[in-house]
Structure formats: structure tokens, C-alpha cells
């Protein structure tokens, strides 16, 4: 497709900074999202098409068996994690790579920034990585005066908007083509037609310039294979291949739990992850990166590979009732399946990880402190659709309940006090019956033609949205 283009200087403006809306209450963000018809339409379309494809995938493959096997492997590998990480580190070093283990995001960012300074780098090209979102790597690099370009189409769109991902796999799924076309026109000053091919062509042209100029490539890792020290990165656009092959230096950020023992195990996840994420049994591109370009090797490949292994609160979950959260392979299926995520999208969660897995791991990785801990685990109806969708069988609804129990904030302590009073009344049949009788009298007194329109006290949140039948069966 040929484009009529008009160049302006608008295209080089630095992208606005990403800000997570941490200070607003989750309920308020959810309420706002609910009123955004365009957003809801986009989410409905995306989740609907995923659900349709997922049903077909599950018919075509022995999904239940693969899921059971995946769960077994993840359980075993998380149990053996320290040993597997040692082996991985040894093999990556043997293949010419540098390995650094970092305790938290700050240390990870510091390492990458210092590396960039030592190499005199000015431009870093990045492929999609949730771990880099988690540690806010872009912000750290920009603060250090470096330029960083997202090369995944969805992430690039978000970077241009100053937005953040709403989905683990499909970061810009909350936007539709019209919105993206508008953005590209504003950004470029060019007349880009609202056409899939034209939009992609524009992004490709702009991104190629940056690939060629980048001093350092930064990627995530879907799966590290300990026995050979190989990093697997899956994608559909080809940008990961360029990010990890063109620049002379490659930095790979690995969440420490994303490691398997050997290739037999890896083979399962190379199939299962795309099955759950994109309803296909293979990603379009799979990059298998073992070490650096050897000295006697001509041609492609970075001469430096830095594997940064991030703890960031993960190792503390081993051996706790939350250990299964470490089984996650970041496929995003639980997001698509979640009625809450489908209703409000990922941004409302206010954290890089959204949906059921985000509501579990965000507070956990933050040590169950802070506002997001007191909000996120409660943003679920515990319907269990996430568990059903999860290709490694994480009982997310159980983890959500356990996370709620682990929350210790002023709000949670107030709620606990109320439940203590409740439990004293309801553990004894006479006081139980008395409180029930009182409630029934209240219901009868407040009812008008069989319905209560407004309840007092904590019941007000019920009648905020619903009437309450004072007689049963109800008469509309």
C-alpha cells in the first residue's frame, strides 16, 4: 500500500510520561470506565473474539491433559527454583552471557541505566515486556536522559499516547482502529488512511529507523530453559527478533519464576502459551537466544547479552499459600475471561498487571502494603471464570480470597471488627434468630408494595443499584 505523506516536525516530539493513577480509588476508576461506551465496545469485541477462538482451540487440542501436565511441571519447577536458576546462570555464562540477579525493580533499573552509560548509549529499542512495566524501566531510562522506544505495535501506540497496557498480551486492546488512526495522524501530521495496512506501514517505517539506530535492545523473556541457558521470546510482529539481534548489546529481563528445567518441558509451554493467549498453537516468531555471537561467528547477533533476573517479591511467595501465583505464564487468558476486566478494562486496575492475576500478584509483589493491596483483591466477584481459563490451572479465586485475608490496612481492620461482631451474633442460634427476626421486621416496615428502595447503613450500597424484594417470590 502506497501512502501519500507529508512530513512535519510533529513526529519527533518526546512521548508524554506514563503515570499510573495510584491515588484515585479503584471504585471511582471503574465507575468512569463503565461510562465509556467506546471502551466497553472495544473490550466486548476483544473478549468475545478471544472466547470464540478459545472454545475452538479447546476442541482441537487435548487441552485438559496439557493443562494438568503444565500444572505438574510448574509446581515441580517452582519447588526446584533455586537449583534451576543456578543452572540457568551457569549455562548462560558458559554461552558468553552476563547474568545479574536483582532483588527489586530499582536495582534492575539501576543496572540497565549504568550499562547504558558505560556503553555511551543514547537510544534503547524495547520489545514488549510486562516485567519492564512492573519495574517502570522506561521512566528510569528517561529520567537518566536516555531515549527508549517501544517496538511492539501495541506498546508503541501506548507510548505515543502516554498510556499504559490494559492487557498482558494485547496492551492496546482497549483502543480501536479509529482511535489509533487519529493518534498516528496527530503524531505524524500525515494523512494516514484509516486502514489496517496503512497504519501498520506507518508504524513499521517509523520503527525501522529506530531499530537501525538503537545502541541497546531490551526484551523480556517468556521462558528460560535452564539445561541449555536458552531464552525463549515469543511474538507475532518480528520486532523482538530485531530488538534482540540488531543492536550490539541485548538486555533481557527475566521474572525469576519463568524458568523450566529442560526442552521437553519448554515444548509444552511453547504450544500452551499461544493457545491460551492468541488461540493458536504457535507464536508467529519464536526467538531462542543462547548466549552471544561467538567471536568466530560472522553476521548477526549482539556481542553482549545481559540477563537480568528479577526477584521483586517473588521468592518470598515460595512455600506460602500464594506459591501458585508463581505458576503464571502471563498469557492474559484470565483477563479476557473475567467479567470485571471485560467491564472496565485493564487501566482501571491502576497497575501494570490487571485482571484476576493482577489483582493477586500486584498486592503480593508489593508486600500487601499500600492502597492497591487494600483495593485490588476485592475487585472480583470470585466467579471462578479465571481458574477455568487459566492454562496452568491456578486457582485464582482461592488466591484472591487468601489475598483478602492477608490485607492489613486501616480499612481491612475496620471490616474485620464488623465481622467480629457479626460472628459473635451468628455463632449462637438464639442471637442469630433474634437478629434475623429483627431484620425481617425491618424489611416488612421498609417495604412498599413488596420492595425496598432504600436501605440504611451498609445496606445503602445495595440499594444504590438495586431494589430489594421485601416479599418472596418478588413481583416486578
Amino acid at each position: 500500500m502506497r501512502l501519500r505523506v507529508r512530513r512535519t516536525s510533529g513526529g519527533t516530539a518526546p512521548p508524554p510520561r506514563v503515570a499510573y493513577p495510584e491515588t484515585e480509588a479503584l471504585r471511582e476508576r471503574a465507575r468512569e470506565a463503565l461510562q465509556d461506551d467506546q471502551l466497553r465496545g472495544n473490550l466486548r469485541a476483544a473478549a468475545g473474539s478471544w472466547a470464540k477462538g478459545q472454545a475452538a482451540v479447546r476442541e482441537r487440542y487435548p487441552f485438559a491433559e496439557m493443562r494438568a501436565e503444565a500444572r505438574r511441571i510448574r509446581t515441580e519447577d517452582i519447588r526446584r527454583l533455586p537449583e534451576l536458576l543456578d543452572l540457568l546462570e551457569e549455562r548462560v555464562r558458559a554461552a558468553g552471557g552476563t547474568v545479574v540477579r536483582v532483588a527489586d525493580g530499582e536495582a534492575a533499573c539501576r543496572y540497565v541505566v549504568e550499562l547504558a552509560r558505560r556503553r555511551g548509549a543514547r537510544l534503547l529499542a524495547k520489545s514488549k515486556s510486562m516485567a519492564t512495566e512492573e519495574i517502570k524501566l522506561n521512566e528510569a531510562l528517561e529520567e537518566a536522559g536516555l531515549r527508549v522506544v517501544e517496538t511492539d505495535l501495541g506498546e508503541w501506540i501506548l507510548q505515543l499516547r502516554g498510556d499504559h497496557p490494559s492487557h498482558i498480551i494485547a496492551p492496546a486492546v482497549h483502543l480501536n482502529r479509529d482511535q489509533i488512526a487519529d493518534l498516528f495522524r496527530r503524531h505524524s501530521g500525515e494523512e494516514i488512511p484509516n486502514d489496517r495496512e496503512a497504519l501498520i506501514a506507518y508504524a513499521r517505517r517509523r520503527l525501522r529507523e529506530d531499530f537501525a539506530a538503537a545502541d541497546i535492545g531490551v526484551s523480556g523473556v517468556n521462558l528460560a530453559v535452564a539445561e541449555t541457558g536458552t531464552l525463549c521470546v515469543m511474538e507475532n510482529e518480528g520486532n523482538v527478533r530485531l530488538v534482540t539481534a540488531l543492536p550490539p548489546v541485548h538486555v533481557a529481563l527475566l521474572g525469576m519464576e519463568r524458568v523450566v528445567a529442560d526442552w521437553e518441558e519448554a515444548a509444552l509451554f511453547l504450544e500452551l502459551l499461544p493457545m491460551a493467549a492468541i488461540n493458536d498453537d504457535a507464536a508467529t516468531y519464536v526467538s531462542l537466544i543462547t548466549g552471544t555471537r561467538a567471536p568466530d561467528e560472522a553476521g548477526d547477533g549482539p556481542t553482549e547479552l545481559h540477563l537480568v533476573i528479577l526477584d521483586g517479591g517473588r521468592s518470598a511467595l515460595r512455600g506460602t499459600p500464594f506459591e501458585e501465583a508463581l505458576h503464571c505464564i502471563r498469557c492474559g487468558a484470565c483477563l479476557y475471561s473475567c467479567p470485571m476486566w471485560r467491564s472496565v478494562g485493564g487501566q482501571a486496575y491502576g497497575s501494570p498487571y490487571s485482571g484476576p492475576i493482577g489483582a493477586v500478584i500486584t498486592p503480593l509483589l508489593e508486600g500487601m502494603r499500600g492502597e492497591r493491596s487494600s483495593e485490588l483483591p476485592f475487585f472480583s466477584s470470585l466467579c471462578g471464570a479465571c481458574h477455568q481459563a487459566c492454562p496452568v490451572g491456578i486457582p485464582l479465586h482461592d488466591l484472591l480470597v487468601r489475598a483478602r485475608a492477608a490485607v492489613d490496612t486501616p480499612a481491612s481492620r475496620r471490616a474485620r471488627l464488623a465481622f467480629r461482631a457479626w460472628s459473635i451474633l451468628w455463632r449462637w442460634p438464639p442471637t442469630y434468630r433474634a437478629s434475623v427476626a429483627l431484620a425481617r421486621i425491618g424489611l416488612a416496615v421498609m417495604g412498599r408494595r413488596g420492595w425496598v428502595r432504600r436501605l440504611p447503613g451498609p445496606g445503602a450500597a445495595w440499594t444504590d443499584q438495586r431494589d430489594l424484594p421485601s416479599r418472596w417470590p418478588p413481583h416486578p
Binding site: 467479567p339 466477584s381 481458574h387 490485607v407 465481622f419 459473635i424 425481617r440 431494589d467 418472596w472 417470590p473
Partner: protein, 235 residues
């Protein structure tokens, strides 16, 4: 055949007719029904809100009220799921862990109990209903078929499936109170899907979902009648 019936706290509070209907349906099917007098609540409200200690205090009452060997029948997928799936975890490190596991193994939701024992209340009705798959019934108890089989056993009743019947109605216990807007929006979608079938009423195995869905339906002006499955079976 003998069984212990759990009335459920929500029926005690908002619809005692549901517990009476459950008893009636079981008795018509030839079951000798005992309703333990010292029962209160299964404890799920506190458990799912993240207060296991407070839940355990109340659940212990249930554990003792339903002691013995008799099967326990619960006219609620959610309360049944609490006993079956929640209690073993809630009492895992408790001296009564064995009793909790035993209770879990002899507890069934009402339609599960009837269908597994091949029992029929021999009920009759006229018209059409639509059935809402409540989440804990469907995804924790893994029960999709029993309520439908029980409805199929009601002479003269037609079942019309609604769109997205397996999607959550948005009730979710304290979720309905902490995030009322999202909860209400999901409830409204459910009410509209149910009404779109043209069925005379909405039926479910969980009173909680029904209170939420019809309450939301009335607030937004969707005409919708509802009855608990037990009431349909007892009619």
C-alpha cells in the same frame, strides 16, 4: 432415605419460602427431612471477604449442627460450595479438620442430591423458565447438568436457555457492596439476557443471585419474575 437440610441464612433473612420449598420438594420425593434447629450460617460472607477467623467461629456452629452420618442437602450452590470446597481449607489446621472433610464429602446441593439419588418430587408446572448458572454451582461444584435434569423432570415446563448463561451476574457477596456500579452493570446484563428469552421467569439455585438480578431488573425497568429452583420443584 434421610437427609439434613440447611435452610441458609439468606433464605432465613429474605425468603423463608425457599427453605420451606426445599423441604417440600425433598419430602415429596420421599426423603425424610431433618432441619437441625441449631444451624445458623455457613460462614461464607466472612470467609470470602477475607476474615477466616470470624468465618471459622460461625462455620464451627454449622459443623456441629450437621454432625453425624446423614447426607446434607443445601438449596444453594454457593453455600454448598463453601461446605464442600471452603471448609477443608478453612479448617485445615484445626482439631475439627476431619469433621470438616467428612461434612464436605456428604454435602450436596439440592438438585445434585435429587438427581444423584434418582429422586423426583413429581412436580408439575406450565410455561417456560430460563436458568441462570450461578458461579459456585457451575465452576466450584462443577454442576451444569443436575439443575437442568431436575427442571426437565417438571411436567409441562419448558427450559429456554439465555445468552451467556454461564457468565457471572455480578453479585459476588461483598463485591456487590464494594463495587456496586460494576456489580449492577453485570446484573443488568444478566436481567436483559433472561428477559430476552421471553420465558415467564428466571430460575437459579442461588437466592443471592436472584435477589441481585431481580432487584437490578426492577431498578432499571426490566420486567422479570424469579423463583428459586426449590420453589419450582415444590410446586
Amino acid at each position: 432415605m434421610r437427609a439434613l437440610l440447611m435452610r441458609t441464612c439468606l433464605a432465613d433473612l429474605a425468603a423463608p419460602a425457599v427453605a420451606r420449598a426445599a423441604r417440600g420438594a425433598l419430602e415429596r420425593a420421599g426423603v425424610q427431612v431433618l432441619v437441625p434447629r441449631r444451624q445458623t450460617c455457613c460462614g461464607q460472607p466472612a470467609w470470602s471477604a477475607g476474615h477466616p477467623e470470624q468465618a471459622r467461629a460461625v462455620a464451627r456452629r454449622t459443623l456441629r449442627a450437621f454432625a453425624g452420618e446423614d447426607p446434607v442437602v443445601v438449596p444453594s450452590g454457593s453455600c454448598a460450595a463453601m461446605l464442600v470446597h471452603g471448609y477443608p481449607e478453612l479448617f485445615a489446621d484445626d482439631p475439627e479438620a476431619g469433621a470438616a472433610r467428612a461434612l464436605a464429602s456428604r454435602t450436596l446441593e439440592l438438585s445434585q442430591f435429587l438427581v444423584r439419588h434418582d429422586l423426583s418430587p413429581g412436580s408439575g408446572a406450565s410455561g417456560a423458565v430460563t436458568y441462570h448458572d450461578s458461579c459456585h454451582m457451575l465452576r466450584i461444584l462443577g454442576e451444569r447438568d443436575s439443575p437442568r435434569a431436575a427442571l426437565a423432570g417438571v411436567a409441562g415446563l419448558e427450559l429456554r436457555e439465555m445468552a451467556d448463561t454461564e457468565v457471572c451476574c455480578g453479585f459476588g457477596g461483598t463485591f456487590a457492596l464494594s463495587f456496586p456500579e460494576v456489580s449492577g452493570s453485570l446484573g443488568e446484563q444478566k436481567a436483559r439476557n433472561a428477559a430476552a428469552t421471553g420465558a415467564d421467569e428466571l430460575v437459579a439455585c442461588d437466592l443471592s443471585c436472584l435477589l441481585h438480578i431481580v432487584g437490578r431488573a426492577r431498578r432499571v425497568g426490566v420486567p422479570l419474575r424469579a423463583r428459586h429452583l426449590a420453589e419450582v420443584l415444590a410446586a
